[in-house]
Symmetry: C2
Subunit: 266 residues, 2 copies
């Protein structure tokens, strides 16, 4: 089936900046077309300075049922939501928002649960394991807190900006005192799972985000990049015999959570 849009079609909006490489419009509109759901998701690229006025106005659009929020608006959206899921509360950010039957707005944050779901889809266990992660930006924050919630034994964080790594480690320890979380050197050896949460690997010629030569074949390696799906890091890890989880695994697990939230999937 193909997507058709009438005056009665329900509307979902993707808010972010930039959006030209966003994958969710293609994904969700294919879901609507395949399942005969009379809805459409459209991108609206908007700068942070114009975000508040836009979301305030959009909430008055009668056929708008939900929002997908991506960078740089995931924190700013919180002020416009009436109720938050557990992950959104933990992270202080949301990337999905749904209009409830009473007109109020519920939001949640699926970056972390999506990452954990992607690992699970590949049969990679993180519970009670030692985890290394490089990159401590917004997505990494959501991932670190989801890994702590899952119950990893140890979480070592590294970032070129050492203060950012230390700050995220502190946040994780404060929320999960049982997880040994610290900031440390750029060395993934001696860990069960090594994660790249930086953009390195998106552009040809990027250096590897960490050295894989010291990794045991039992160490799993995960990456957040979706294009290319197999980054140079994942290719090198696979060559060593390491299990891998890709950015696409994370994306698919996230979209499944969103599809359930919006009632598009069982």
């Amino acid at each position: 089936m193909s997507l058709t849009i009438s005056g009665a079609t329900r509307l979902y909006v993707l808010l972010g900046d930039p959006l030209d490489k966003a994958r969710s419009p293609e994904h969700y509109n294919a879901v609507f077309a395949a399942r005969g759901i009379d809805a459409v998701l459209v991108p609206m690229e908007v700068a942070p300075t114009a975000f508040e006025a836009l979301i305030t106005a959009l909430k008055h659009v009668r056929n708008l049922d939900g929002l997908i929020i991506t960078m740089p608006h995931k924190q700013a959206v919180l002020a416009h939501l009436d109720r938050l899921g557990d992950a959104a509360q933990r992270v202080g950010a949301a990337n999905v928002a749904r209009r409830e039957a009473d007109g109020s707005w519920f939001g949640d944050m699926y970056d972390g649960p999506g990452f954990v779901g992607g690992l699970r889809a590949r049969g990679i266990a993180a519970e009670a394991r030692r985890v290394y992660m490089v990159g401590c930006g917004g997505v990494a924050r959501a991932m670190a807190l989801a890994l702590a919630e899952l119950g990893v034994a140890q979480l070592r964080l590294h970032d070129l900006d050492a203060r950012r790594a230390a700050s995220l480690a502190e946040t994780v320890r404060a929320q999960y005192p049982g997880v040994a979380c610290d900031a440390g050197a750029a060395d993934p050896a001696q860990f069960d799972l090594a994660i790249n949460a930086t953009p390195l690997g998106m552009r040809p010629g990027d250096p590897l985000p960490f050295d894989v030569t010291g990794l045991a074949p039992s160490t799993a390696v995960a990456d957040v990049t979706t294009k290319p799906e197999i980054t140079p890091l994942l290719a090198a890890a696979r060559e060593r015999g390491c299990p891998i989880a890709t950015g696409r695994d994370m994306f698919e697990a996230q979209t499944l959570l969103a599809e359930r939230l919006f009632g598009w999937s069982a």
Copy 2:
């Protein structure tokens, strides 16, 4: 081809209230799909109280290229446009708006030119003819001014609200002193073209908007209703041998004008 929407797709928004019966989303999205244009038109149903804030915010959406405006926002949109076409200036309303290369907004009003284009498509001449029109609301205002611009000899207006008919007649006379325009009785006899610009005929059981028994077979009859396309009025007129023009003729002529404005058609 089918419609596909990515993060880079250009956006057009239909603004109105209500929109559930609006035809333009289906029409324009079929045009995009058929011609491989990477654009989408989505409906946003918004009340007058929320219109100003929404259009102000939408103008900051970077991938928004244009608006289609329908009732009840056709007058309110003017305050948000930088430059107006002739018809929009005449009528004091707009139903299309385009973002220009310099970021400013141009708007125009195609209800009137669309009606005249629909007559032309059916080979019905209105130039130098005597025209009767029932209904003097917003769409009728645009039609009356387009007929006067075209150069009808006489324009007789009728409305259940006699003051509304008198007021529109005065507007037409003020702008086109050469056109004999007045408000008068509900009698379409002795005219070359009789027009229904009321909603009568949309619902089963509606009375005819005017009596056709006195019409000569040479009198053309036009209606603005698109669903059903052949209203009871048009069916009765056709039975008498009168030429007819339908609401769909008007809609198609209007959409062609909009397609040219937005560069979707040559």
